[in-house]
């Protein structure tokens, strides 16, 4: 019985060794990513139910508030504007549930034992975590894409380039939220504690993201907190991407871009902030994950 298999050199000092190692890590990352996708698509009930909340926000709370604006003197134009304003935030919200569920899946894997199967494998732990986060972000983006499909109802034109840009921004926002969930998951090991902490954390993350009301209309303390929230920049970036393709530019203060003092934060920097936050948080989570037994 042959027991020795062709394997990349363990030390990885040669070029082939390094490439072999990289290929092996890539394969593991893809496997972890795929597992997240399989889990998500096998659980149809969860998929349907988690779509309910963002839809409720957009079409019940959104329409309700929009009509309130219309009634209080803004006219029908204001009602439409508010729905358009709310739309990017709702996309982020749709992505939120599956994104943070990656955190609970890490804690759950620990509880159910599968984490151990992965931890004793000859792979880097950071690869496992990265695969997990990218998988979660991909699932979250898919979920957001379903809400995005209803964009026409709030007056967003169906254009391929716009949708591609929105999906890319959504994916970035999803990654940021996934990584945040992962940071909490590798710090708190008890499932019950984890769920409580994350629920408490996710509330302010959404409410203080300029998703429902513009930063410009917030009192100082609230604006300060909102500007410290990376999700704010993701929502704002998406809002202005939508606006760029919108036929009539609404001129209300709703769409004033996020500003530091009087300086409007450009779109590129906004995306860089979200990306930078994800990278730093991922590095921190991965360091912590590598240390734990």
């Amino acid at each position: 019985m042959t027991r020795v298999l062709e394997r990349p050199a363990a030390g990885g000092r040669t070029v082939e060794g390094v490439l072999g190692r990289a290929a092996a890590e890539l394969r593991v990352g893809r496997m972890v990513w795929r597992r997240e996708m399989i889990h998500f698509f096998r659980d149809r009930t969860r998929m349907a139910v988690s779509l309910l909340q963002p839809m409720l926000f957009l079409y019940v709370l959104g329409i309700g508030l929009a009509r309130l604006f219309a009634g209080s003197g803004g006219g029908t134009r204001a009602a439409g504007d508010y729905l358009l304003f709310l739309f990017p935030g709702v996309l982020v919200m749709a992505a939120q549930a599956p994104a943070i569920s990656v955190g609970s899946s890490i804690v759950w894997d620990r509880q159910s034992g599968f984490l151990r199967e992965m931890l004793v494998a000859p792979v880097a732990r950071s690869t496992l975590l990265l695969g997990k986060c990218l998988g979660g972000a991909a699932v979250a983006t898919c979920q957001g894409a379903v809400v995005l499909a209803s964009a026409g109802l709030v007056g967003v034109p169906y254009r391929l380039d716009l949708f591609a840009a929105l999906l890319a921004e959504l994916a970035l926002a999803a990654l940021a939220m996934t990584v945040l969930g992962a940071v909490v998951a590798v710090t708190i090991r008890r499932l019950q504690t984890f769920n409580t902490v994350l629920t408490v954390l996710m509330g302010p993350l959404l409410f203080l993201s300029g998703m429902m009301f513009p930063v410009g209309s917030m009192p100082g303390w609230m604006a300060g907190l909102t500007l410290a929230n990376p999700i704010t920049y993701a929502v704002d970036a998406m809002r202005h991407t939508v606006l760029a393709y919108h036929a009539q530019r609404p001129s209300t203060m709703l769409f004033d871009p996020v500003a530091w003092g009087s300086w409007h934060v450009p779109l590129g920097l906004e995306l860089a902030i979200v990306g930078g936050f994800s990278a730093v948080a991922l590095a921190a989570a991965s360091r912590r994950f590598s240390r734990t037994g």
């Binding site: 019985m1 394997r7 363990a10 597992r35 399989i38 159910s112 151990r116 000859p122």
Partner: protein, 335 residues
Amino acid sequence: MFTVRRQHAPASSAEPPGTPPAILATGVRKTYDGMEAVRGLDLTVAQGEMFGFLGPNGAGKTTTIAMLCTLAVPTAGRIEIAGHDTRTAPRAVRRNLGLVFQETTLDVELTAAENLRFHADLYSLPTGTLPPRIDAMLDLVGLSDRRDGLVRTFSGGMQRRLEIARGLLHRPRVLFLDEPTTGLDPQTRAQVWTYLREVRAREATTVFLTTHYLDEAEQCDRIAIIDAGRIVAQGTPAELKSVLGADRIELSTGDDTAAAALLRERFGLDPTVGERGLCVQAEDGARLVPALCAGLDVPVYEVTVTRPTLDDVFLHHTGRGIRESTPVPTAAEGL
């Protein structure tokens, strides 16, 4: 007495000289927060051996296994798995290990085949030969017909068998089984063991297992008993039992005093008189019984011959350890 050849002789004799042992641990210590969980452990397991690792709860078993599979780093000492140092080459060690833990580590939301495929990705097994390998492993544990069934729907015994198949998928040198049959009913337990023997026959893997069932330990080529962080006994089951000495013969007679004198006189034995009758130690007790019955002039009502079991061995070694750790309880009790 213990010259009986084991059915499964260690395969080490077949290995070319210079082949490193499957497991080699020297002077291993582990201290947690000033508590010494393992205090100087030496262990050698030859390639192809089935090795049983026994010990009471809290003896350092779990800690030792964690160190052997690179999940914990020893405070002192050195561990090599198939010649690879767990500290300097943990990846090489992990590639050579198959692990089946006490609690299940399967993904129950996936199918049996998917669990194996993910394992193959984790260990970067060549994809070309993977499908036949997966089929062979499922066949080995009798799960071929449940290939695409969700693990959630499997019974405890089936899950355990699937884990054994998964642990072997990457052809490890050593398969670790941490209480592989705990929580299974006797029938399922027997079935798992049937497959384990099949595994040995077909894959020629070294098997290192812990168990609370002494009948399972009996099936191992060699056994080590750990207590209070140290190995207190090591050897084949027969060797360990021989340490306890000969068989015990208990006699119930019409006149114990007379019988005792006769035993001394005619058989050269040294009987002790107890409440339940006479008791003597003798080699090959069962063969002695007819001679005893014929040679004693007093009526013999009952004869019991007890061979030392691993149970006795275990109690003997760990029992002594427990007394040592609590030195003078009697003085306090007397007050």
